[in-house]
Symmetry: C2
Subunit: 299 residues, 2 copies
């Protein structure tokens, strides 16, 4: 589908790529004027707004800079930061992400649509697309927002305690934002500064425990995966609870069939567990302890 949001196939990206190519070739030197919106439009056979979008993207990436009343000019590669998002009344990426996070916290990720975010923001739907590249990008921004909101635990003390604190911190984030697990599983791994800070802290703690740098990084990913896997379970649990509240009867019906299934297909080991108090916090604690035991044992 066209709404698949497979980033990289959009017409504006083709224009961006072409211009970037001309810049790195030297065909366009720093200071040179880049073709105007209209020129780009006829040159590439696209709509004006598409060309305008391409220019915006180039500017946000730091390739060109906009000189008011003149046009866009190739930026100096040494020219410092990739242009701060223009301040002023216009909402920033962070603002939009923050609003979307609030919305998702209340209603979940499924009902989060661009239209709804825009409405909550008080702007027309399509105006969002000047601030974020699309829904995927918005979700990445939300993830970044959430992880940026979490303070890192102290980087001192015993390594084991630091690792535990870091995992717990992430787990708390998932408790607060149940959509997070689903969002992480849906999005590609993006380079999010806030996520990198967590990775950095965890790797630093692991240095005291694991010598081999590759194994160290492996274990970092393994721990993260464990936390996220548990978070997925948590999200599912919360969903189920929400459903129970709405429709207790149906749930009860499913419950009986669940028990029936368990009786029919579950073997002796499953039955031997008996009455099991399902408490994800305890499960998380137990699992994390085991995992960290295993990590520290190899030192």
């Amino acid at each position: 589908m066209p709404g698949q949001s497979a980033q990289g196939e959009l017409p504006s990206d083709r224009v961006v790529a072409a211009l970037r190519a001309r810049i790195v070739d030297g065909g366009l030197a720093p200071g040179d004027r880049v073709p105007s919106t209209r020129a780009l439009a006829v040159e590439h056979g696209v709509a004006l707004s598409t060309a305008a979008r391409a220019l915006t993207l180039l500017r946000d990436a730091g390739w060109v800079r906009t000189v008011p009343r003149v046009g866009s000019v190739v930026a100096d590669p040494r020219g410092g930061e990739p242009v701060r998002p223009r301040r002023g009344g216009t909402p920033t990426r962070e603002d939009v992400a923050a609003v979307a996070v609030e919305l998702a916290d209340v209603d979940g990720l499924v009902t989060l649509s661009m239209r709804r975010v825009a409405a909550a923001f008080g702007v027309p739907t399509m105006s969002l697309y000047r601030i974020v590249r699309g829904k995927d990008d918005l979700v990445v921004g939300m993830i970044d927002t959430v992880f940026a909101s979490a303070a890192l635990p102290a980087g001192t003390g015993p390594a084991r305690a630091r690792l535990e604190a870091l995992a717990r911190r992430q787990w708390r984030l998932h408790r607060r934002h149940p959509w997070l697990a689903r969002a992480l599983s849906l999005s590609r791994p993006q380079a999010s500064p806030a996520l990198l800070r967590f990775a950095e802290a965890e790797l630093a703690a692991l240095e005291a425990v694991v010598d081999d740098p590759i194994t160290r990084f492996d274990l970092h990913i393994a721990i993260t995966s464990f936390v996220r896997g548990m978070a997925v379970e948590l999200a599912a649990e919360l969903d189920a609870e929400a459903d129970t509240g709405i429709d207790a009867d149906t749930w009860a019906g499913q419950d009986t069939t669940l028990h029936e299934h368990l009786r029919r297909h579950g073997g002796p080991a499953l039955r031997r567990v008996g009455d099991y108090p399902f408490d994800l916090q305890r499960i998380f604690d137990t699992g994390l302890r085991a995992l960290l035991d295993g990590v520290t044992i190899s030192s």
Copy 2:
């Protein structure tokens, strides 16, 4: 959206619940005729097809049985199995799930739509809804199909080896069906016979290692979560690879910005890792070893 497919709120469920209530009350005894489709439709103010669907659901659940040319009749509770899905030319739930699995294996879960499944099956779209309850139900069926296709490793030998084999088997399933992780994270935990078989085997192996039944079940969930968390990573990796193939240029561009991000936001510990060969199989092995070390250590 109305297609949110929150199971349990459908009008047909209300009808089902009402009829079930009348049956358990004794208002409708075994052998009694249940109201006809049309009668149900006017009684509950729903469409004919909704009423028909309700009857189908009741029959599949074994509450009633259809006497051709007469109507539906309350089934004898002792009457054995909940009615085999009628054999013959009509495709069964398993058939549909199998086709959907093939489709998802090739094209991924995102492009899997009811229309596409129906087309691949050669039936009209809406005919699927007589076989599965909706897309969520179809996905659950797909999960069940996949797990049912996997043979369980031998239930003998050292517990540690059995646990490892079980985790590996699940991991292999995720390698073969990259959509599986996403499907599991999206769906509620359903009582799937095939999944229960895995749980049973894992619990049996854990019995030799963990005495406390609650801790044992906790660790079972923890191990499963770890595997699934790693599988999510795997799915993301495969997605990224697919994108690279299609659009190497864009990916290269993202790569530079990724490295830039890493340089800017990554701390010393991240840099000290140096060149890291990203290989999820090795990461999985390392992580699993650590986790199982931690599990067996507490014995």
